[in-house]
């Protein structure tokens, strides 16, 4: 076997093969069953067991570049939280593209239009300033934000009458793609005010935030598209995340095969040289 030519294969063939491998299961899904991860289940159970009238801050701290993984996560968490009419929802974001998620979520799931704005939910919009903004809002919602995203004075919103600092928040849900995100919220909300947190993050950040789950600083963690697919199962939904799992499986097998073949080719070449 000519291992050298295998190693030097035109990368465009690899790219084309990747597109074919990912596309095939989208047309012909197999539907391999999923088993849920404990950290995802913890998030679901915590939200499910929130006390009557709990105040939940829903923060989409992410950009549209990450929508492939994060929009399905935002979608399932939004669905779960809005299934309970008693939960008081505060929408906020610390990324300038986060508001785009609010618009898309509400279009796909217009349940908030049936709820009383100002009493059952409020939209505080985008607050610039990264960690300073998180710290400022957490210390005093009313000092930093005199108006909500619609221009209403927040002092006029009944929901906000009892929400002065992050201590008054029963759960913070953050859909987080980077900085500012989980560590910043940990420093300014969880450590300072004791606010419980659930985070939905890109897959590669799930490994990095495991210490926060282990120490109890995060009560639950959704890592990537797979976690969104598990959540769809818990909620009884047939969503885009679940439909992508077969393609994900094949893509992982493909990468492993490539790595395996490359290593075999490398060591065969080395043996030949010796």
């Amino acid at each position: 076997m000519n291992w050298a030519s295998i190693q030097r294969m035109d990368r465009r063939i690899i790219y084309a093969a990747l597109i074919v491998v990912l596309s095939f299961p989208l047309f012909k899904p197999v539907g391999i069953p999923l088993v849920g991860a404990e950290i995802t289940r913890k998030a679901f159970d915590f939200i499910d067991q929130l006390p009557q009238g709990a105040v939940v801050v829903f923060s989409t701290d992410t950009g549209v570049a990450s929508q492939g993984e994060q929009y399905p996560q935002a979608s399932v968490l939004f669905e779960q939280v809005t299934r309970r009419e008693d939960i008081k929802l505060i929408l906020i974001t610390f990324w300038e593209q986060g508001t785009i998620y609010f618009t898309d979520l509400q279009k796909a799931n217009p349940v908030l239009q049936t709820r009383t704005y100002g009493e059952q939910w409020v939209d505080l919009g985008y607050v610039p300033g990264a960690e300073s903004a998180m710290a400022a809002v957490g210390d005093d919602f009313h000092k930093v934000l005199t108006t909500d995203a619609r221009g209403n004075a927040i002092s006029s919103l009944p929901l906000m009458a009892d929400v002065l600092t992050a201590k008054d928040v029963d759960l913070l849900i953050t859909i987080s793609a980077g900085t500012p995100g989980v560590p910043e919220f940990q420093r300014q909300w969880n450590a300072r005010h004791g606010t419980p947190m659930v985070a939905a993050v890109l897959s590669q950040f799930a490994t990095i935030y495991m210490p926060y789950v282990n120490s109890g600083q995060l009560v639950g963690l959704l890592g990537g598209l797979r976690a969104a697919a598990e959540y769809e199962q818990y909620l009884g939904l047939a969503g885009t995340a679940g439909r992508a799992m077969d393609a994900l499986s094949l893509s992982h097998v493909m990468v492993i095969l490539f790595v395996g073949l490359a290593n075999v080719a490398h060591f065969m070449q080395r043996r030949k040289a010796q």
Binding site: V35, V127, S132, M210, S249, A262
Partner: protein, 209 residues
């Protein structure tokens, strides 16, 4: 007092006040700290406008001074044109208007998402060419990555239940231990840097004096 000295005093006052608010809770410190943090919010808002101003300076300058190739200038014109359209629509109609939603749904969301998705191709290419287990460290990394990739994908559960269980163990135990060490080390580093800035040892943020 010279400019750099004044800037350092400002930094010292802001840093000490906000830092102290985490340990000493008095009305005056909380009030000043809260006010200073709200200034950070306002500065953040101003900082957002810098991207557009810089783009105008660079791409407008390229067109005006005829730098680069004609093709470069055409693309700069396209960039400035789209920027102008989106800015006018956003300011005039608002970001929740149908017109602005058309712009971000047609251009911002799909193009930004696709740029990020290009990583998949480069990972596939790197898997073919670069991920060689040349030493024991690389071998540990690749074996772990293989277990995690199989454990994360539903197909891993079909092969054997041990794969997702091994993945969960890797994430909860050795990975968690390493990431904790990194988090503690990084926290020590950032606290040390913060103290260096407050003590005036680190002044690079003041620029060349």
């Amino acid at each position: 007092m010279k400019g750099r000295e004044l800037a350092f005093v400002i930094c010292l006052f802001v840093g000490v006040t906000v830092g102290l608010s985490g340990y000493i809770s008095t009305p005056i410190i909380n009030s000043i700290s809260s006010e200073l943090l709200s200034w950070g919010v306002v500065l953040g808002a101003f900082a957002l406008t810098l991207g557009l101003l810089n783009s105008i300076r660079i791409h407008g300058g390229r067109i005006a001074r005829r730098h680069g190739t004609p093709g470069d200038r055409v693309f700069s014109a396209v960039l400035l044109g789209m920027m102008a359209i989106a800015t006018v629509v956003g300011l005039a109609k608002g970001t929740t208007s149908d017109q602005y939603q058309f712009i971000y749904k047609t251009f911002l969301t799909p193009l930004d998402g696709t740029i990020f998705a290009l990583i998949a191709f480069f990972i596939a290419s790197a898997a073919w060419r670069a991920f060689i287990a040349r030493n024991s460290d690389a071998a540990i990394l690749l074996v772990t990555a293989t277990i995690v990739m199989l454990g994360r994908a539903p197909i891993g559960e079909l092969i054997t239940r041990a794969l997702p269980e091994a993945t969960a163990w890797i994430m909860d135990i050795p990975n968690m231990a390493a990431q904790r060490g990194i988090i503690i080390g990084a926290a020590l580093g950032s606290i040390a840097l913060g103290l260096r800035i407050l003590l005036g040892i680190e002044r690079s943020y003041l620029g060349r004096g």
